[in-house]
Every structure is written in C-alpha cells, then in structure tokens.
C-alpha cells in the first residue's frame, strides 16, 4: 500500500454563518466601506443618498488599499459603531 504525506495545512476551513439580517435597516447605523478602488466613491455616494432619504444613519469608512485585507482595527471600529456594512467594490 502506498502512503502519501498530506501537503496541505491539514486545517478545515471554519464555516461561519452570516449574521442574521437586521429586521429594520433604520435600526442601526449602516457602514459604507469604500475599498479604495476607482469610482468606489461614486457608488458609495449614491448609496449614501438613498439611505439618507430613507432616514437611515450612515457612516463612511475606507480601506487604506484594496489590495490587502481591511486592518483589524478598522474591522473592530465598524463592528462597534454600526449594525450593518455595505462594502463597495466598484471599478
């Protein structure tokens, strides 16, 4: 019998379920996260208009660069200050 050595990290990717959707979007502040791609601001700006019209409070955030994961501090800040997040890819 041939025995091979496992070349992987031998970890199973943890599966996390998405948080339940807020019952009412107006309940908490919505984070608008611009990932720093060109024209992300256009998309985010339009969302801001629409949400504000609906009476929803929004806060703007921006990743330093689209090429790297959002810094931990930024993720924590968003989680602490907002109830939902919309991340805009744009381009």
């Amino acid at each position: 019998m041939t025995t091979l050595l496992d070349p992987t990290s031998e970890r199973t990717t943890g599966k996390r379920s998405i948080s339940p959707r807020p019952a009412d979007i107006a309940d908490g502040t919505v984070a608008l996260l611009d990932i720093s791609k060109p024209r992300g601001d256009v998309f985010i700006g339009r969302l801001d208009e629409l949400l504000t019209e609906m009476g929803v409070a929004v806060r703007h955030y921006r990743k330093p660069t689209f090429s790297k994961p959002a810094p931990l501090d930024l993720r924590r800040q968003i989680a602490a200050e907002c109830g939902a997040v919309i991340e805009a890819l744009a381009d």
């Binding site: 091979l4 050595l5 990290s9």
Partner: protein, 480 residues
Amino acid sequence: MSLPIANGLLAVVKDDCETCHLVVPVLAELAEREYGVVIVSQDQDDFPDGFGAIHDRELDISWRLGIETTPTLYRVEGGEVVDEQAGWHRSGWERVTGATGLGAGLPEQRPGCGSDTMLPDTYQRLLRRHSPYPMSSRRVGLGTAEDPVEAAFARGWTDGLPVVPPTEERVARMLEGTELPPDQALCTLPPDLAECTVEKVAINAVMAGCRPEYLPVVLAAVEAAAGRRFNIHGVSATTYFSGPVLIVNGPVRRRIGMNSGVNVLGQGNRANLTIGRAFNLVVRNVGGARPGGVDQATFGSPSKLSFCFPEDEEGSPWESLAVQRGFGPEESTVTLFAAHGPIEVVDQKSRTPESLARTLALQLRMVAHPKLAGMSEAIVVVSPEHARLFREAGWTKARLGKEIHALLTLPTSEMVAGAGGTAEGMPPWLADRREEIPKFGPEGLWFVHAGGGAGGFSAIISGWVGGRAGSEMTTVAIDQ
C-alpha cells in the same frame, strides 16, 4: 546504534559480489592471525561459510557505517571507525590491519561492488528509518488499486499538472537538502494564515519535482512571501494577471544548475521550473490560495504555475539585481516580484544606447495601460545582444534608468481619462495640478541580465500594483 565491536577489525561483505569471494582467503588469514576479524554479511547469513558472520538483514549496521562498496574493511577503536579500505587493495588492507604479506597470490587490487544500502529503494527505506526527525504530517493511505498520481488530483493537491507522489521516503530524501528540522515553523502563510513548516515545504517540493538541493531556495521564497511587504494574500486574491516571479542570484544558481541562458524564461531546466512550481504549490496547499476560491483572477498567468529564473551575472555589464538590492555578490538570494509576462521588446536595428533606450521606453509605456502611471512596476530582462550595446557605450544601470524615466515622464494631458478617446487613464483633476507624470516611481523599474546570446530582444516582466499599496519587491538571502 553502536557497532558490533568496540575495538578490532570489521569486514562488510555480501555473497553477491565477486570481490567479496576473492577476499575470503584474506579474511581467513586475518581470522587465523592474532588480529581477528568480525564479518558482517549483507545478503546471506552463511557467507562466508564457517566465519560466524553477522547477518545484517535490515542493513542497520551497514547504514551506521555509511558503506558504499563491498567488501570494505574497517578498523574500529573505541566504538568508532578510525580507518577503512573499500574493495580489495593489498596495501590498503595492510594499512588498516597493520599486517604484511596479505593475500599472496591475489592481484594487487580489485574494485568492489555496490553496497546493498545504495539500492535506490533500500536507500530511501533506510533514510526514513534512521531519520533523526520523524515527520508529523497526516498519512494518507491509498488503496492497492489507487494510482498515487490520480489520488493527488482527486484530493485537490495539484496545480493541474501531475505531481510526484509525496511518499515518506521521497520527503525524507528532500529534507536532506536542509539542516532545518522538519517541524520548524517557517512562517504563517496567508491567506489562510496557516502555519507552514519545513516539512510541508518539503512535501510540496517533492510533488513539484525538486531535487533536495533546491529546497533552500524554496524555503527562502516561502518565508519571504509570508511577510507583510510581499502581500501574498493580495497577489493570490486579485483579479489581476500577476503571480509570483522568482529571480535567483548568487552562487546557488550555478551550484544547482539553473539556466540563465538560452530559453531562460521557457521550459527545459528542472531547477528553474520546479522551484517556481514548488513555491506555488505551497501557496496553494498550505496558504489555501486556490483558483475559484481566494484566487479570483480574471485570466491569471503562467507565473502562477512557475516563473523562476536566475540572472546571468557572469555575462552582465552591470551589478546584479541582488547587489542593487543591498546584498553582496557572493550571497545567494531570491527576489520575489508580483508580476506576469514576458512582454516582448524587439529592437534589431538600434546601434546606439539612446536609440535602444527609446525602444524600451516605448514598450514600457504599455505596462498596465499606456495612460496609467505610477501603478505597476516592471523588470526589464535585458538580453546579451542588447546589454552589449550598453556595455560598449559605458551606460550603467542607473544611466539607463535615468534615460528611460526621462522618456517616460509624460504630458498629463495625454494621460488623463478621456484623452485620446478612451475613458481609461489617470484622474482628470491631475491635469490641473501637474504638467507631467512619471510612468514609473523612483523604485519602479529594474533591469536584470539573462537570455540566449542571439536575438536583439529584451523582455518586460510587468508587475501588479507596486509599493505599499500592493506588493513590494522582496529580496531575501538563501540559507544554505
């Protein structure tokens, strides 16, 4: 393990060896004389008959002795070998034993046979059995009818090409290429942030087809990739074309037989191809960057399979890339660059460096897009024919870089979105702030020398988003 005797003469023989049969009378002489000799037989318990030979069935004694040839006669003192002679060699046997007039009637010398420990399968088995470092990776037992190559595909371990099955024997042999213990943690590898050990790199190096002497290059590259500067997470996840390009400098290039000449960026050289491939397999299997998962490239590029080459330092008119990046010429290094290509540069007519620099600038302008600047970096692989022109004119790398930067400092009005009838380009507000934009940043353009001797060509290796916003070129020393 210890040897069967602490002091005295030890002879290792095997029945399946003509020279061993030849020396039986000499062994009898030694046994009769006051010297005495203990005989270890590799393949038969009754050879030579009547000597009370120790049968080294598992070859553990032979392994301990590191024997390559039978017969070999050893003098042991205090449990250690102090002298030895392989094959039959009268003066050598007399030196080892201190006796004179041995083997009267025998020829002066006769070469021996290969020790059974050197049979390929046996060698691997012994290597694993006696490895001081047990390997800890999960064992994957295959069914008797299961083809190991197919099994690797089925488990998602490959890059789309068949791999060499990573058996314990092969991995043990690969680990001979480094002095680091297999359980040593090299780094935490993104995107999964998984611990990457020397053993995991060795397993993937086996699969890629590496030889053990290539392993230090792969280890250095993996460690460098895990750092914040190279940003392997971003390089793996981007929709862009780029993948890791590895450029090797220093003495290791020649020692492991890398090719920096004809077809340098193509196929045909085991070290070039398998080092790059091993690196990418580690990123896939340990880091977890798989196409369709984290890797969302629109096209990808062959650099995600293997893009690794050494610089031709010996033929270069310039200091090497490694020296430019702060290392000594005698240091072996690997440089990681997130990129793709090559893009061709044809110029068979230039006879002055000024003319050739213009050609390079024209083609370099198209990196990413002719109207985008300051985003991507680039390496120009300058061929020997092109390099000769710069050498004869006395142009240094710095001079060439300066000329190209001047040629590629472009009018902003041509570069902004909408100019030239295309919406792609730099933000229009730039036009109000500055008249000119440099295509490349101060550290955005590099030159290396490589390629075959014939051809008025150079090659552009075009980068991803450079600098701190993306991936920074990273050079590290190779620990050998």
